[in-house]
């Protein structure tokens, strides 16, 4: 509980830092307008966006909008509970699209969750067994092959493997579509197949990347435990190798791995920005890139801050999970 309260000032400081950095950055929301637009008009646009106000006022406005107005709106739309007048409340508006930032984010989230989230899940499901086997059979051919693949998967960036995958499977073999179609609604078997087809490449490219990192970590963690005394004790009791490995060793080895997995979940949302870009998945990552390119400060600010919240939140969750898995740790 104390830690939860501590998270609040942390987040406030983070939000201020993000705001300050974005404010100090030399960008101009009118910079993308044609050269023919005269300076007076540009100035008016800036005033209409509220940029004439001093920084602390703008920061205060943003805080109120983010922490009070938007949550009330979500309450109103999701559950029909109205507190105050919804139409009176100002919302965080995107400078580029003039629509509420939160609506944009809500639109983009499902794509990211599906593609990046699934790849994370698959990555974990592949990595843990591979890590276990390659640790238990250290230096076997399986371990050697696994080491090689994960070195490649880890050190070759996803924009490269993604491109290679596109060239091979879309351009040459024509198995999968090159562009992810978000408008596709899964209402028939055929559309479902298309959906799966278009997800295969981005998901597997990201899953490979995630798995290669995690499997190395899993392997190292198992190896750390395999030579400890309690493993010998378990064997001296007559337990089978299976039980020794999957109960005694795994329970201990999973502690750091699960923490790592929990800490990695926010990266799902910040969403493999580059991979989304390559496969044209219009998720949160792509939204952030577009916002940055268009100097859409409210959108960048809000997205970045949401990621910050997730990171702080999952740090807390990781701590809690750690406490559950490791009986030696208790939080009061």
């Amino acid at each position: 509980m104390r830690r939860l309260l501590l998270a609040i000032p942390t987040l406030l400081v983070i939000s201020f830092i993000i705001f300050a950095i974005l404010d100090l950055a030399p960008n101009d929301p009118t910079g993308n307008l044609p050269m023919t637009v005269p300076p007076e008009v540009r100035e008016k646009i800036r005033v209409s966006l509220g940029l004439d106000q001093p920084m602390h006022v703008r920061f205060g406005m943003w805080l109120i909008q983010f922490f009070v107005n938007e949550p009330l709106n979500i309450l109103h739309e999701a559950f029909g509970i109205s507190i105050g007048d919804a139409t009176e409340r100002t919302r965080i508006l995107s400078w580029a699209t003039r629509s509420p930032v939160i609506d944009l984010i809500i639109q983009r989230t499902p794509q990211t969750l599906w593609v990046v989230g699934l790849s994370y899940l698959f990555g974990i499901l592949i990595a843990i067994p591979i890590g276990i086997v390659s640790a238990y059979k250290q230096y076997s051919w399986f371990d050697q092959v696994g080491t090689f693949i994960s070195m490649v998967g880890f050190s070759v960036p996803t924009f490269f493997t993604g491109m290679v995958a596109i060239i091979i499977f879309s351009v040459q073999l024509k198995w999968f579509p090159m562009i992810y179609d978000t408008t596709l609604s899964v209402d028939s078997w055929q559309n479902f197949v298309t959906q799966v087809k278009q997800m295969i490449m981005p998901v597997s490219v990201l899953a490979l990347y995630n798995a290669s990192q995690l499997s190395r970590f899993m392997r190292a963690s198992i190896l750390d435990n395999l030579n400890l005394d309690y493993v010998r004790t378990a064997r001296a009791k007559g337990r089978s190798e299976r039980v020794v490995l999957l109960i005694h060793v795994l329970r201990n080895s999973l502690i750091p791995v699960v923490t790592l997995i929990a800490l990695g979940i926010p990266t799902i949302f910040s969403g493999a920005i580059i991979t989304e870009q390559i496969f044209r998945v219009n998720g949160l990552g792509q939204l952030l890139i577009i916002a940055i390119e268009g100097a859409d400060i409210p959108l960048v600010q809000t997205l970045t801050f949401l990621f910050a919240i997730l990171i702080v939140l999952f740090n807390l969750i990781a701590d809690v999970v750690y406490g559950i898995l490791d009986p030696r740790i208790r939080y009061d």
């Binding site: 005394d229 001296a236 337990r239 201990n252 009986p327």
Partner: protein, 326 residues
């Protein structure tokens, strides 16, 4: 009290480790036998091969790098060293129990005492959970853990070192083993706790009647408990005799030296404790000569050319030494 039938007969075990720096000859042909209900003390300095010998019996060594080159270990009419893992598992924890040196690391930190204690019973006795739990509580009471009923759900970190070692003893004895191998069970404990653990073992031995192999480097501990003592040096047993005979009439120069290093309780206190000069042997060379020869005061030409075998002399005394005072 002692019967003469042996329960474990070990012949000529040779265990090596393959390392980057070449082979380590850890155990070089060890033979001994253990009678029913007997307590055999195995004494030697660090690296003399005590633990490796006993762990070789149940293949508890990491293999590789360890490799059991040859030998026989007859237990219950079967050779332990020829068993496959499945057969050996029935022996481990079932008929032969093991206690290890460091109780702080020998228990799994994330599993409850109950779980770790009922494991051997479920494995070997096929007990269901509630029966095993009842027996586990009995066992904890037997090794002197107060409020066993409440403490059984605790985790190892709730227990002190001495208490953990009691738990280890309870685990090792859970299935009424015929042999208990105790690998320096008191070395990591402080002296008062040591005394308590020794008392527990003495009492349980009387109650349960199992044979015990007690590995230690503490001559004092062995003197008070053992029926017979084997002294190890450089991967060999150099002397073996009933406990009184060994202490009153040591025949190997190494044993003589060891006994001289103990402070004398009677008479005038010596200025300095005696010590054995020199270093323990490097185990990288093949044992073609007596490994104690470089440190021995009685070294002869033959000691450097041939490794003496362990041979019987009078009074059930066995010595591996070319030098014979008689």
């Amino acid at each position: 009290m002692l019967s003469q039938t042996s329960i474990l007969k070990v012949e000529n075990i040779v265990t090596r480790f393959r390392t980057q720096e070449g082979q380590v000859h850890a155990v070089n042909g060890i033979s001994f036998d253990l009678k029913k209900g007997e307590l055999l003390g195995v004494v030697g300095e660090s690296g003399s091969g005590k633990s490796v010998t006993m762990m070789s019996l149940l293949k508890l060594l990491p293999m590789p790098p360890a490799e059991i080159v040859s030998g026989e270990a007859n237990f219950d009419g079967h050779d332990l060293l020829k068993m496959d893992l499945e057969e050996l598992r029935k022996i481990r924890g079932g008929k032969i129990g093991f206690i290890f040196q460091d109780p702080m690391t020998s228990l799994n930190p994330v599993l409850t005492i109950e779980y770790q204690l009922i494991e051997p019973m479920r494995e070997h006795l096929g007990m269901n959970r509630s029966d095993a739990r009842r027996r586990a509580i009995e066992l904890l009471e037997m090794v002197g853990i107060p409020e066993a009923k409440n403490r059984i759900n605790d985790f190892p970190h709730h227990f002190s070192g001495g208490m953990r070692q009691r738990v280890m003893i309870a685990i090792a004895l859970a299935c009424n083993p015929q042999i208990l191998i105790a690998d320096e069970p008191t070395t990591a404990l402080d002296v008062t706790i040591q005394a308590q653990i020794l008392e527990i073992i003495k009492r349980l031995r009387k109650e349960l009647g199992m044979a015990i192999i007690w590995i230690t480097h503490d001559l004092g501990v062995v003197a008070g408990m053992a029926d017979r003592v084997a002294v190890m040096y450089g991967g060999n047993i150099v002397e073996e005799a009933p406990v009184f005979e060994l202490y009153s009439n040591p025949k190997h120069p190494y044993t003589q030296g060891l006994l001289k290093t103990l402070p004398n309780m009677k008479g005038k206190r010596a200025e300095r404790l005696e010590s054995i000069n020199g270093q323990p042997p490097s185990l990288h060379q093949k044992p073609v000569s007596c490994s104690f020869a470089p440190r021995c005061s009685k070294t002869m030409e033959r000691c450097r050319q041939e490794n003496p075998a362990l041979l019987s002399r009078e009074n059930n005394h066995k010595v591996a030494c070319w030098w014979n005072p008689n």
